[in-house]
């Protein structure tokens, strides 16, 4: 009879081998003592295999005599929470992926290093986002509704067209409390219509929404699976389908009201250990090479002028944007979200 002790040892050996193999796999773990380590804290779609992060790391490590290590957070909200909770022990030298709605909160909760970004040659749409000294935009996107050709007899051209009975429960939206594009939509409507009329409109939109998904990916997944006729996304979304799926059926809808712009920022915490390396990494992100990579991997516009020229991104029609750029205060964001929640809750009662 086989002794159970032997069996336990057998399992332990298999298990430990697996454990050691998985640990040894990661080159990041085997950091060489002599080389400094740049720790970049970012969200999954930047640092993950499909994001721009790994390619930037490869280029950066060629010249820096250092190693780049990514620390992944699920989204910008969780990024900030972890930064606050783990503080210096997280050891983040660079934070990537905050958007304009996070900036005030980030400023209130953390100390950041000043950056010199005044001489960047950026697109006109990006200039307003350079108004602070701590956060530098590295990509941007124009928020828009995306649909498939043939979904509508006449494509919606303004907010009121979205209230058509044909679109009842057919619009995939994001929950502004948990999703950055969702917050962009709320802000978009209020800026375009004013607060009172905006919330009246949003109340009507709640009847039209297929769902308020917690993230952009869930909402876009519902749209991709044809559960919704249109989804709130980016003007650049159809380019993904064109380039990677060879599918030209997707289009972004231009609205008369003008479109909001979402910026993604990078910043260096005051507690950085390899601050100079962090600055050099930002410089790489803002170089033509880095910008091209970010554009191609994230399907967002580059901030630096002339980078998109000669690529499919240059063919994207230029939508009228809202123009002004504002960094709303944390209190203002919370106030609007509370009002949205109250409205949504009332809708259920």
């Amino acid at each position: 009879m086989v002794n159970v002790k032997h069996f336990v040892i057998f399992i332990a050996v298999i298990f430990l081998s697996l454990f050691v193999a998985v640990l040894n796999k990661n080159d990041d773990m085997k950091l060489q003592e002599a080389k400094p380590v740049l720790r970049v804290f970012g969200y999954a779609s930047f640092t993950g295999q499909w994001g721009a992060g790994p390619s930037l790391k490869q280029i950066f490590e060629k010249d820096c005599d250092c190693q780049v290590q990514f620390i992944q957070g699920s989204d910008s909200g969780i990024l900030l929470q972890r930064l606050k909770l783990e503080g210096e022990s997280l050891g983040a030298d660079l934070v990537v992926g905050l958007d304009q709605f996070d900036l005030q909160k980030a400023l209130a909760e953390q100390k950041w290093r000043e950056l010199n970004i005044s001489d960047l040659d950026v697109y006109d749409e990006v200039k307003p986002a350079l108004q602070n000294n701590y956060f530098v935009p590295f990509d941007w996107g124009v928020i828009s509704f995306v649909t498939r050709k043939g979904e509508f007899e006449k494509n919606p051209e303004n907010f009121d067209d979205l209230l058509s009975p044909n679109l009842k429960r057919k619009i995939a939206l994001q929950d502004p409390r948990t999703s950055s594009p969702g917050m962009q939509f709320l802000s978009w409507v209020i800026r375009a219509k004013g607060e009172e009329a905006g919330f009246k409109y949003i109340k009507k939109m709640m009847e039209q929404a297929h769902s308020f998904s917690p993230s952009w990916s869930s909402a876009y997944g519902l749209f991709s699976k044809k559960q919704a006729k249109t989804a709130l996304s980016y003007v650049t979304s159809p380019v993904f389908h064109r380039v990677e799926e060879k599918n030209n059926d997707y289009i972004a809808l231009e609205f008369n009201e003008g479109h909001p712009v979402q910026f993604e920022f990078a910043a260096i915490p005051e507690s950085c250990r390899n601050c100079e390396l962090a600055e050099r990494f930002i410089n790489l992100m803002l170089s033509d090479q880095g910008q091209k990579l970010i554009m191609q991997k994230s399907y967002m516009f580059p901030v630096v002028r002339n980078v998109k020229e000669g690529t499919v991104f240059a063919d994207i029609p230029q939508f009228k944007t809202l123009g002004d750029f504002e960094i709303p205060s944390t209190q203002e964001v919370e106030r609007l979200l509370k009002k949205w929640s109250d409205l949504r809750r009332g809708d259920s009662n």
Binding site: V4, F15, V22, W50, S74, E86, L90, T178, Y220, W340
Partner: protein, 486 residues
Amino acid sequence: MISRNIVRSFLLFYLLFPFLFLIYSFRIDSWPNLEELFWAFKNSFIQAFFSALFSLLLGLWVAMGLLSFSDGFRRRYRRIFEIICLLPNFLPPLFTLLALLNVVDPFPMGTIGIILAHTAINFGLVAVLITILVESKIGSLAELAEVEGCSRWQFLRYAFLPILRRDLLLLGLFVFAVCFSGFSIPLIVGGGTGTTIEVLIYEKIRLSSNWSEAVLLASFQSLFIFGITMVARKDVATNANRIVNFRFLRMPSGIAILVILSFLGFYGYIQGVIDGFKQVSAFYEIQSALIWNFLGSVAVGLSTGILSFASLLAIAFCSPSGWRERIMLGYVAPSTSLCCFAFLMFGMNEEFWPFVKIPLALNVLFLGALYRMGWDGILKSLASQIEIANSFGASSWLIFQEVVLPQVASRAALLSGIAAVWACGDYAASRILSHRDLTLAMTIETLMSSYRLGLATVLSLALVFCGALCFFFMTGVGRVFSRKSI
């Protein structure tokens, strides 16, 4: 020899650790808005109650179908149907939801949608558990009743329901507790109208960094589940493994409904897989990472499985333990995000630590549910044997080794196999506790957040394989432990 009191104290500390650490770390300086709390509580209660009710009803029907495959050559096919039943538990919630959306169009977002999704995910698991319950408690009685000429209706009315009433109630309570504290489905399907306490906790942390209110809400949620579990009383269970002829309880329509629902549900999923295969060449450049992600999933799944197995056996070692059993029966960990943040803030997070912390956190999150899935019943069924062994002066270790372990090992392995499957599909806890994509589930989530739903669907097949591997490994462990002696 290890003292039972030390093990009991350690278990108690381990389970209460997230609460203690969070209360220690965050000063409670504000209280949740009562109106908001009541609204979230109402949503949580309604969705959990109806999810449990419908899961139980549908699960009972399907269980009758599974019993059609309980003897002879049919028993071989039962495992296939059991896997089909457990499949929704293998996949990330979004896949189950997308499959469901193909059947129910338009899908009612909000509380009704949450109930539908929870029922779709849980009825199969309930069916498998009811089958085990019927076989272990009333198998012989069913045979006897058939021989005595009892009709099926009479048996159901006078034997089945009265004997299993409390167990079914407990099973319902298990589903209720799982749904009440569920996170992913209410977050995706709730859409603002169906916000539950769990989602409210997440919003408190993410939006306003209000940890004080988040901890209070989590404590309220756990206390509520604890309270209602205290009200439910557990019957003494029996534990029999004899194969019984269940002709009397067979209901092939149960299998038919399972096959129809699975076909409708997974048709959309299979379509997604076929579409995704068109882009499968994109995996070429990251094949090495995918292999490591697969191993990472196996490591997390097996670690969680083995940890759950050890925890369940530790509970069995401590049994009977009076009031501690009542604690286990009502125990619900704080919300997923809070529990993970507690582990995140405690100690190191580098190098191998995520591989330690993720299984530890998942075990805390799963253990209460596993206990309510029948572990309490099987331990109670051994109480008289333990008492006799005690009166003969056997030590607690000897009793565990010779009496308890051989009888409970296979059930512990089954439950920890389920925990391993859940762990394989987890990305929420792993995302908080790790610094990079360690597992397939995390990579799937990353793919979905970069437009690649098709590839994510293809990759989910590997996740199903990985979950099955861990599940069968754990059940194998149970078989060895139940046959051999230490």
